[in-house]
């Protein structure tokens, strides 16, 4: 599709990508959910996390790999997500735009409050 166009990230997408970065660039659903919840203090459903991860995966901002089952009872497999180069670019772009928007004159309004 529009390969040249910069990808805008939605707020929650941004959270998910940032959580991934905070977790060392590779993590699975539950860890991302907990990271967002504990950092933002807002309750997050696992379904929303996976839906967003799936969407980001579709956009090739992420890549996933499925781990070998853990050597524990029930032997759970995990789906680990990792940022792609495209994802990193998108994140950098979004955060820098955010930063620019926030350091503008509107900030003074906030300090007056």
């Amino acid at each position: 599709m529009a390969g040249k166009m910069e990808i805008f990230l939605a707020e929650f997408e941004l959270y998910v990508l940032l959580a991934l970065v905070r977790l060392g660039g590779e993590a699975y659903g539950a860890a991302i959910r907990r990271e967002i919840e504990s950092t933002t203090g807002r309750s997050v459903s696992i379904g929303a996390v996976y839906a967003t991860l799936g969407r980001l995966d579709d956009k090739r901002l992420l890549r996933h790999r499925i781990s070998e089952p853990l050597p524990t009872r029930g032997g759970r497999a995990r789906k680990f997500y990792r940022l792609t180069a495209k994802g990193e670019r998108a994140l950098r772009h979004s955060t820098s735009m955010l930063h620019r928007m926030m350091t503008g004159p509107t900030l003074t309004l906030e300090t007056e409050l």
Binding site: G29, R33, I46, A48, Y50
Partner: protein, 908 residues
């Protein structure tokens, strides 16, 4: 080992994208286990549920918007082999996505279909939320399966209260019944220091709460030693709502004083939140022991009297016993007990029959009519939905004809018929479900309209129903949408895929063969048939209303206002002043300027009738198996007949001179006079009430014209009026006939009441017309609702007939063009097409008429004398529907006959 909640897991498994399902569940399970370890199982459970519910919307949205992957993706293939069931789910979502895309391409079609359906589903949901509020939601705390029964006295098929001694007798000696509690409801004035207000009170025996299996929110319920008459302590139990209203939900409410009709009681308990008594709609605020010595409560004298029915009974059957066994045993016990009593009271010595019925939130005495009315309502809205769905089915049929080409191509490239049918059905289901959602939202608002009707109730009684949308309503709405969707989309889908592959590809769906429209015509015939049934039902209700309205009540309600008082609500001081208070009140009211006449009466018209027992007159034999003739009475003061303009036929009115020191006198109605003294007028004759040996004599002093007493549709009963002076009652209503400004006069009268007794609250003020109109409310409501549904149904059916005719015409455009080209006149064409177009509606009318003849007899109980096969209703409605069908057929035909011949022929 604590497992995550299975239902929540199942929900997740259903909604989550199959690619992620396994990982998401295992992630959740992992965190769940940690939470069980750290916070304990309950918080972990709750957390899991919150996660599951919070995941529903994002997961579904994800599946609906997911884009197809192109090519293999690393790490994907290995886990791609899904079980069959999940594949089906995946296909379903794929179908839904496709359906949404298709509908988005035809927004007009989708909007009309959804609108039509949401009307039908919304109406169904609205009616169901009323049914739900009354029958199901009424009393959530109680378990209906646990052998709880109502025990009443069966007197000639009517429901009567049981006397307290009989209750005690039954409770002590019954083996079929494990336990029994007595209760009686009355509005009471309550207060805790502030302004007193009216609430519903329930006098109960001490085991009432334990029998219902309730545990108090706080405090303790009655002890046996303080709440079985004659052992009564001044205690009260309050509902959570009254706790908040009277005590501001104070923590230390237990032990506080609550005034009940001016009598101090100690609050001992608060009922669990949401429990407001065991009767739907009747919100009980305060419970007191039966026999509490407060005014307005059943008095010791009447509770001790085996002949005065004063309580209702709730019972729990013993293990393994049935209601029929209990009925036999209790009837025998009661009869034996009554035979042993020396009858020195008013009531006749009939065989005592007890009725035992399963407890339900709607009391057994009114259950049958309430349920029958709901059944009729549900059938009517059901018909509306059928009509709406038929329209949509027809629209789907037309759509599928337009899509013949598309379908043929899909089949040609390998789609099986089942696959295409499933896809078409899914498309229809999406429409129905969308409509269901909108319908449920609309219904939530509509239930408010239902509540705007205030049911006719005695003064002081309030009804409060919760008609809000709950899970039952949601499930109902959902399943109605689903079932209707499946039923009405399957036929069009099968039909659409029936056509031969080659013809579909070749014609491109522009022509239509004659047999193709058969299904459509049948749908229209069926639609017209059910519409006729619906309309005839509505017509019958309307006829019933007009026939009842035109009935003579026997009194003139215009210009009469009523002020209802209960001295017992004013406390014992008010009660002691009794007779003189009422005399002074009526004298001062009569003296007000603008008051033509004034009188007191115990009962308002249409507010129920009372009886002292069967009446006997020497020489007039009692009906078979009875101890006397049924008769009802009212207690009145002089001037009552003048005030209500009930003509005095002969004799005299009750006078101030008829007091307790004289012989008992009565004014009787014409029906009673004619029945007992067919040869003369009965003046000066005596009638007797009570069993032989203990009867009391009443001397007839006057005969008045018949009136309506209980219902508009009643057969005039024997009715007599006794003087207030000879039969005192604390609950009386003042009837004022005014010529001047009624409001000012009522205000002035209120002032007089306050002046005479500042502590006495006024129970109720209304005009007599209002009270009379309330008696018409069931009929009004029925006619209004049925009429509204009839109109909706008629409009929908008209749209249906129009649509089908228009479509048929468009399919025959070529033929019409040829005919015109060959010289057919417009009249010829009209005739041909109208006859053709009306065939299905006329067939439908014949079927519908026959069906209506067969089913309207179920409405008899609501029609108040109008025949269920009333020819006026049948003919007028049929003619009306025929007319509408004709118009709906002619409009598209007229349009067609004006069409441009050349253009039509050229387009082929």
């Amino acid at each position: 080992m604590v497992r995550p909640p299975r239902l929540a897991e199942a929900i997740l498994r259903f909604v989550v994208d199959p690619e992620d399902r396994r990982f998401l569940l295992s992630d959740l399970a992992e965190e769940f286990e940690n939470r069980v370890k750290n916070d304990g199982p309950r918080p972990a459970y709750r957390w899991y549920w919150r996660q599951a519910i919070g995941s529903i919307v994002p997961s579904i949205r994800r599946r609906l918007t997911k884009t197809r992957r192109v090519g293999p993706v690393q790490g994907y293939n290995r886990h791609h082999r899904l079980p069959v069931g999940r594949k089906t789910m995946d296909l379903f979502f794929q179908d839904v996505r496709f359906a949404l895309r298709t509908l988005r391409r035809r927004p007009g079609f989708a909007a009309v279909a959804v609108l039509t359906l949401s009307l039908g589903i919304g109406a169904n949901t609205a009616v169901f939320s009323v049914v739900n509020g009354v029958l199901f939601k009424g009393v959530p705390e109680l378990d209906r399966t646990s052998g709880l029964v109502e025990v009443t006295r069966d007197l000639d098929g009517a429901y009567f209260d049981v006397s307290y001694p009989v209750f005690q007798q039954l409770r002590e000696n019954s083996e079929t019944v494990e336990d029994m509690a007595a209760f009686t409801a009355a509005p009471v004035s309550v207060g805790s220091g502030g302004e007193p207000f009216v609430a519903m009170g329930l006098s109960v025996t001490g085991n009432y709460f334990s029998m219902l299996g309730l545990i108090p929110e706080r405090g303790r319920f009655f002890r046996a030693s303080e709440s079985f008459f004659p052992n009564v302590a001044s205690t009260s139990v309050i509902s959570t709502r009254l706790w908040s209203k009277a005590f501001d939900s104070a923590e230390d409410v237990i032990g506080k004083t609550l005034m009940v009709n001016g009598h101090a009681t100690t609050v001992i308990a608060v009922t669990p939140e949401g429990f407001h008594g065991h009767m739907a709609g009747l919100q009980i605020g305060v419970w007191v022991p039966v026999g509490l010595a407060a005014p307005g409560m059943p008095r010791a004298s009447s509770l001790g009297d085996p002949f005065i029915g004063s309580v209702e009974i709730l019972a729990r059957l013993a293990e393994g016993r049935t209601a029929a066994e209990a009925r036999a045993e209790l009837s025998l016990l009661a009869d034996q007990f009554m035979m042993a009593q020396s009858a020195d009271d008013f009531l006749g010595a009939d065989v005592y029959v007890v009725r035992v019925e399963k407890w339900e939130p709607v009391p057994s005495s009114i259950r049958t009519p309430v349920k029958a009315f709901f059944a009729v309502l549900m059938v009517m809205v059901g018909i509306v939905l059928v009509i709406a769905s038929t329209n949509v089915a027809n629209m789907l049929l037309s759509r599928s004809v337009e899509r013949t080409n598309e379908i043929a191509v899909r089949r040609a490239i390998g789609a099986g018929r089942a696959r295409i049918v499933r896809q078409l059905v899914t498309e229809a289901l999406v429409l129905f479900m969308l409509a269901g959602g909108i319908g449920a939202l609309v219904a939530g608002r509509m239930s408010g309209i239902f509540m705007a009707f205030e049911p006719p109730l005695p003064p002081g009684v309030t009804v409060d129903l919760d008609l809000g949308t709950d899970w039952r309503v949601m499930i109902f709405s959902l399943s109605v949408s689903l079932v209707a969707g499946l039923l009405f989309s399957l036929a069009p889908a099968l039909h659409a895929t029936k056509a031969g592959l080659m013809s579909g590809l070749k014609d491109g769906g522009s022509s239509s063969t004659p047999q193709r429209s058969l299904l459509r015509e049948l749908l229209v015939a069926g639609q017209v048939a059910v519409t006729l049934v619906l309309l005839i039902g509505a017509g019958l209700f309307a006829r019933a209303l007009t026939s009842i309205k035109s009935m003579d009540t026997g009194f003139d309600a215009e210009g009469v206002h009523i002020i209802s008082l209960d001295l017992e609500l004013g406390g014992s001081e008010s009660v002691q002043r009794g007779g003189p208070f009422f005399r002074e009140l009526s004298e001062r009211a009569r003296a007000l300027p603008g008051v033509e006449s004034a009188a007191l009466a115990r009962k308002l018209p249409f507010a129920g009738a009372s009886t002292m027992g069967d009446v006997n007159v020497p020489g007039v034999p009692a009906p078979e198996g009875r101890g006397g003739h049924t008769a009802f009475f009212n207690t009145v003061t002089p001037g009552y007949f003048v005030t209500l303009r009930i003509p005095l036929i002969t004799g005299r009115d009750i006078s101030e001179g008829d007091n307790s020191s004289n012989t008992r006198v009565a004014v009787i109605n014409r029906a009673m006079a004619e029945r007992f003294w067919p040869d003369g007028d009965g003046l000066g004759k005596l009638f007797y009430i009570g069993p032989v040996g203990q009867e009391r004599a009443f001397e007839v002093i006057g005969v008045v014209e018949n009136a309506k007493y209980g219902r508009m549709t009643e057969n005039t009963p024997n009715f007599y009026y006794v003087p207030f002076q000879q039969r005192y009652n604390a609950q009386m209503s003042l009837f004022l006939r005014t010529t001047g400004n009624a409001e000012a006069i009522v205000e002035e009268t209120r002032r007089i009441v306050r002046d005479l007794d500042p502590a006495l609250p006024i129970l109720d003020v209304r005009s007599l017309s209002e009270a009379t109109n309330l008696a018409l409310l069931p009929q009004r409501l029925a006619a209004w609702v049925a009429g509204a549904m009839g109109i909706i149904g008629l409009l929908l059916a008209a749209v249906g007939v129009y649509g089908v005719t228009a479509f048929a015409i468009s399919q025959r455009a070529k033929e019409i063009g040829v005919r015109i080209a060959l010289g057919a006149t417009r009249t010829d064409l009209l005739k041909l097409l109208v006859f053709r177009g009306m065939a299905a509606p006329v067939l439908g009318m014949v079927i519908g008429g026959a069906a209506a003849l067969a089913v309207t007899r179920f409405l008899t109980m609501f029609l108040g004398g109008v025949s269920p096969t009333d020819p006026v209703a049948f003919l007028a409605v049929s003619a009306g529907l025929l007319g509408v069908a004709l118009v709906a057929t002619v409009i598209p035909i007229r349009k067609a006959s004006k069409l441009d011949v050349v253009a039509t022929l050229r387009s082929e």
